[in-house]
Subunit: 434 residues, 2 copies
């Protein structure tokens, strides 16, 4: 017996907005960790975040309606942390530590709202940027990306009828489950969900996270999505991102200060966090340059997150560096998080097994892999490499070099200056997929 719930149907057909972001916790955990440090140490720094679509051939502004985008961004600006969310942030244990967030910081956070945005269109792309205090603009990165990615999925599926949609999701689920089956073979694997920013949709990310929880059990160590971590009693995971060294580098008043900035970030970080949160992200201005000039104390940190070098080469390089500094890699942690999928996870895991502790932060290919799922090909269902990066700090241009020159961002003159300061060894050019 199939029946229509009339009230539900009328509601479904008349709603004003189906919000993509419904909670300020619907963001990556590392944003909150970084935010507390920015709030504590750099409350007056101004930082601009800017959207960049690395897949220029995808004309986002043609695919997504500008009005719909504004509605979603405006809606996100109305959200506050709820009472229950604040209580959870204050009371939950993160990385085994209670009260990781200071009461003063939480008091400030309770009134937080996302700041204003600037949006225009050019050449089929959106120019979206956020100007203001770093400790406000930084919080736009994840919701802005999640909104654009989900609006794009919705637009892509608009032409599909109910059966085609049913088949689409059935295939996508089968695909996730095949990956689960394959990963199940390695009970020592440690995988977490890092897929918030590029997810197909918020409901789909939730489905994927719950599927992994049921499917690989103990091997699933948590999610970077704070809301999902709260709702499903999973660990909230993540540490820090490129924006920290990028801003500190932009603020540097001399080439010497610029060269020292990646290590200043680590000192700042260590003044706030310890233990498993001491993870080095080495590739902002090239991993080779970072390692060459790194002080010895960096080897005391728990681990590294190579984020743009190919995982095996990148991992090997860090392992030799640890050995040069007299450290046993088996006591160290490598967190892989760049463009992972089952194949790379499997290959990397088997390559390093027994030689180093490993964790895999699985992103876009977990929460937005709809390849071959639509009944007929829909190009705009394919995830794109969309980022929202810091572009300016206190009026000065911000730069990222990366191990992959295709991932470099920033003003070309400044990039040249940074390359002079940090060097250009070992950087490679490889296509950016996601």
């Amino acid at each position: 017996m199939i029946r229509t719930d009339i009230a539900r149907r009328v509601y479904n057909h008349t709603w004003k907005l189906d919000p993509i972001i419904r909670s300020l916790l619907d963001t990556d955990f590392y944003k909150l960790l970084m935010l507390q440090m920015i709030w504590g140490l750099y409350p007056d720094v101004r930082a601009t975040f800017t959207l960049t679509n690395r897949n220029k051939r995808v004309r986002l502004a043609d695919e997504i309606d500008e009005g719909a985008l504004r509605e979603q961004l405006d809606h996100a600006r109305t959200i506050r942390f709820t009472k229950k969310e604040m209580i959870w942030l204050a009371g939950n244990t993160f990385y085994g530590r209670k009260q990781i967030f200071q009461p003063d910081f939480l008091a400030w956070l309770a009134d937080f709202r996302l700041p204003e945005y600037e949006l225009s269109r050019r050449d089929g792309q959106f120019e979206l940027s956020f100007h203001g205090r770093w400790m406000e603009t930084t919080m736009w990165e994840i919701p802005a990306l999640a909104i654009i990615n989900e609006l794009r999925s919705r637009a892509a599926m608009r032409s599909l009828g109910p059966f085609a949609l049913d088949v689409l999701y059935a295939r996508a689920k089968a695909k996730v489950w095949e990956k689960v089956e394959r990963l199940k073979k390695y009970p020592d694997l440690r995988i977490s969900d890092f897929g918030t920013r590029r997810r197909h949709s918020h409901l789909w990310q939730r489905w994927c996270v719950e599927a992994l929880k049921e499917g690989i059990g103990e091997s699933f160590t948590g999610t970077s999505n704070v809301l999902l971590a709260m709702d499903t009693d999973l660990e909230a995971l993540g540490t820090n991102a490129h924006e920290l060294p990028m801003v500190l580098a932009a603020l540097a008043d001399s080439d010497e200060e610029l060269k020292a900035s990646p290590y200043q970030v680590l000192k700042d970080w260590q003044s706030y966090y310890g233990g498993n949160l001491l993870i080095v992200l080495p590739d902002t201005f090239g991993t080779e340059a970072f390692l060459r000039s790194a002080p010895h104390w960096v080897a005391e940190w728990t681990g590294f997150r190579p984020d743009s070098a190919p995982p095996i080469e990148g991992g090997e390089r860090i392992i030799s560096w640890w050995k040069e500094h007299g450290k046993d890699p088996r006591e160290k942690l490598l967190i892989f998080s760049d463009a992972l999928d089952v194949e790379t996870i499997e290959r990397t895991y088997l390559h390093f097994k027994g030689r180093v502790r490993m964790a895999f932060g699985w992103g876009t290919n977990l929460t937005n892999d709809f390849e071959d799922c639509a009944p007929s090909e829909i190009k705009s269902l394919k995830a794109i490499s969309l980022v929202c990066k810091v572009s300016e700090a206190n009026g000065r241009p911000a730069v990222k070099l990366s191990d992959n020159s295709e991932k470099a961002t920033g003003d070309p003159d400044e990039i040249r200056r940074y390359l002079k300061v940090f060097g250009d060894e070992s950087r490679v050019r490889q296509p950016v997929v996601v």
Copy 2:
């Protein structure tokens, strides 16, 4: 376009159990407040709770399948407080007070599970009782009642087809909304949901609570249901119940101690809680007897909850007692919670308006009023007066006299002894509806 989600349908048609109790927070808040005090002061007292159906003509054991009842009770015993729930209990503010629950108590609670039960059938009724330590058995009262009431609703609706069900809920919703419209006229009214134990179903209680939140706004002060309070960011409300004086009276070694026991309860309570939690429940052994022997300091408490006398007479009696003790009733609070519906709420509110602060704890007639909602009359959809009361403490019989002799419970010889000690003034006999 109406379609069947096949996976959902198969899931719906093959599930082993649709649990009525899914969380240990799905209970009344006063249970947790009382529990902390019992855990702190009376950890070794043993107390038996027993189910009593005051509507003997309703043959519960004929309406409800014993196997289904056992499945639900067994399922409830598998539940633990989740991490998120523990964090919320520790971090939430209750009655304006932070950390109302002590860390030691919460540590104990984290491992809590409902103790065993004994179930048999006699004369068409279930004999259901819980033996063990008071601080364990007390937690069965609300889930046991909610389970039996919901199993009874489910059984009553089993014969209904989908259209009849649709109409049933449509009418019930319209009915709740009419009550909302009527109460909206009095913006100063303060109403809360006290309807967990006798609710039609857990989903229906949630609907009613959300309807009140949307409908009467600020006049809706919260819910006694802790899970709903957490999920909907409402205040969790409630203070204490008859079981406290009943157990202390049963433990009394002499008639003098027995006579003093209702005031000992208040001293115990005050050692744990203050402010708006200082609410006297005066009717356990008759309100008249309670007031006559009450020490002066009882008049310092914030308010009274008359629970079995007719609300206007009961309220007037307490107001005169306050005046005799030199208190201004306008600074005092009366909480009405016995058998309320819109008419009684309205009448009582208009009667006392401006003379005393008032709050209304709306129970069965909020969460289980399906009168005239079924397409043809279904007697077993009508709520019954089912209670789960303490019947023994450390092997001695427990007694409640109440202001309404129809609500008295306990061994007849003991009732006679209690009546000799406390007196029998002003008790009335009125039919117990819910």
